[in-house]
């Protein structure tokens, strides 16, 4: 004959607590590290916030990319360091500014710019390579040539400025480490900024 027993139900809350603990562990293991990496990269970069645009840049009659590059150089003018992040961002913004200026004056720079971007990719992907300065020098020289082409096409009065950009680019020695010629590299970026600034006036 039949027998049926009953028992007290087990409480659910311990399982809920266990599930929350596991979810928290998964989050910290798989997602927390990535957040830390991003924060560390930002902390070690001495590059000033590029969203800050100086009054001079804001009064210019120019497109956003040119203004952003000029502001970036100006905000880091007193930064005596030359780390990898600064170089990367400076080239990225200079490329964007040069493309924007070329588009403004309908000057085709496609072929040369493709070459510049290849050099810039090398700089980005091989930050510790001893040929770093070589890639920087080649990118700078090619960009200087593009800017000179734009100047000759649309800004004949700025030939001296364009010449200074080219001179600064040619001064980068591919046989020396980048950190040993940081003033020379920064000088190139400064001269490019001055030229673009004058083009926008």
């Amino acid at each position: 004959m039949a027998e049926i027993k009953i028992e007290k139900k087990k409480p659910v809350w311990p399982w809920i607590v266990a599930a929350l603990v596991i979810a928290a562990l998964v989050y910290f293991i798989f997602f927390w590290d990535k957040n830390d990496e991003q924060e560390v990269i930002q902390e070690t970069t001495d590059v000033t916030n590029t969203d800050t645009v100086s009054d001079e840049a804001q009064t210019m009659n120019g497109n956003g990319e040119v203004a952003a590059y000029i502001a970036f150089i100006e905000n880091n003018r007193n930064n005596m360091g030359l780390d990898h992040e600064f170089t990367n961002e400076a080239f990225t913004k200079l490329i964007a500014a040069t493309e924007a200026k070329a588009a403004d004056v309908n000057y085709d720079i496609t072929r040369d710019m493709t070459q510049v971007k290849e050099y810039a990719d090398k700089i980005t992907n091989d930050p510790y390579e001893t040929t770093h300065a070589n890639s920087i020098g080649k990118a700078a020289t090619t960009l200087a040539g593009i800017l000179q082409g734009i100047q000759q096409n649309s800004y004949p009065d700025l030939s001296a400025d364009a010449g200074e950009v080219m001179s600064a680019a040619n001064s980068i020695d591919p046989s020396k480490l980048t950190l040993d010629q940081k003033d020379t590299v920064k000088s190139f970026f400064d001269e490019a900024s001055d030229l673009l600034n004058n083009m926008n006036k």
């Binding site: 004959m1 039949a2 049926i4 027993k5 009953i6």
Partner: protein, 161 residues
Amino acid sequence: MDDLRKLYRLDELSDYKVASHYPDIRGWKITDANNLVIGTVDDLIVNKAEERVVYLDLEVDKKLIDDRDTPVIEIHNDDENHLLLPIGAVSIDESNKSVICNDVSYATFGRAKRFRKGENINREYETALLRTYYPNDDSDTLRNKNQDDDFYRRSHFERRG
């Protein structure tokens, strides 16, 4: 259910459930030994202190209620369609999800006094019902209706064999 007698409907005990490895037969059909349908198990009446089922609360099949071949002993209202059945009077067929009552016949169920769903059950009703099911049982615990401790320790409420 009367708390003094420690009986509860399992549906009322939110912190209790049928124990693991035992079937929850609520909703299962119940038949007599001749496979005639008596009704459906509506709830389980439990002795909370001993943590076991003592009665099945059946919803009696309408065909049985309306069967004119069964002699009418009690007069019932239309909503009085529940009966208690001691757990020891049935066997459980888990494979077919059915319950078989071997001790009480279809006709006896027809004569038993029914109650309304959810109505409180007192010892007087239990005793009268057991006398209906087991007319030859003349044990002390049925005659001495107030012997609470021994009432459910009878073969009708326990597994035999």
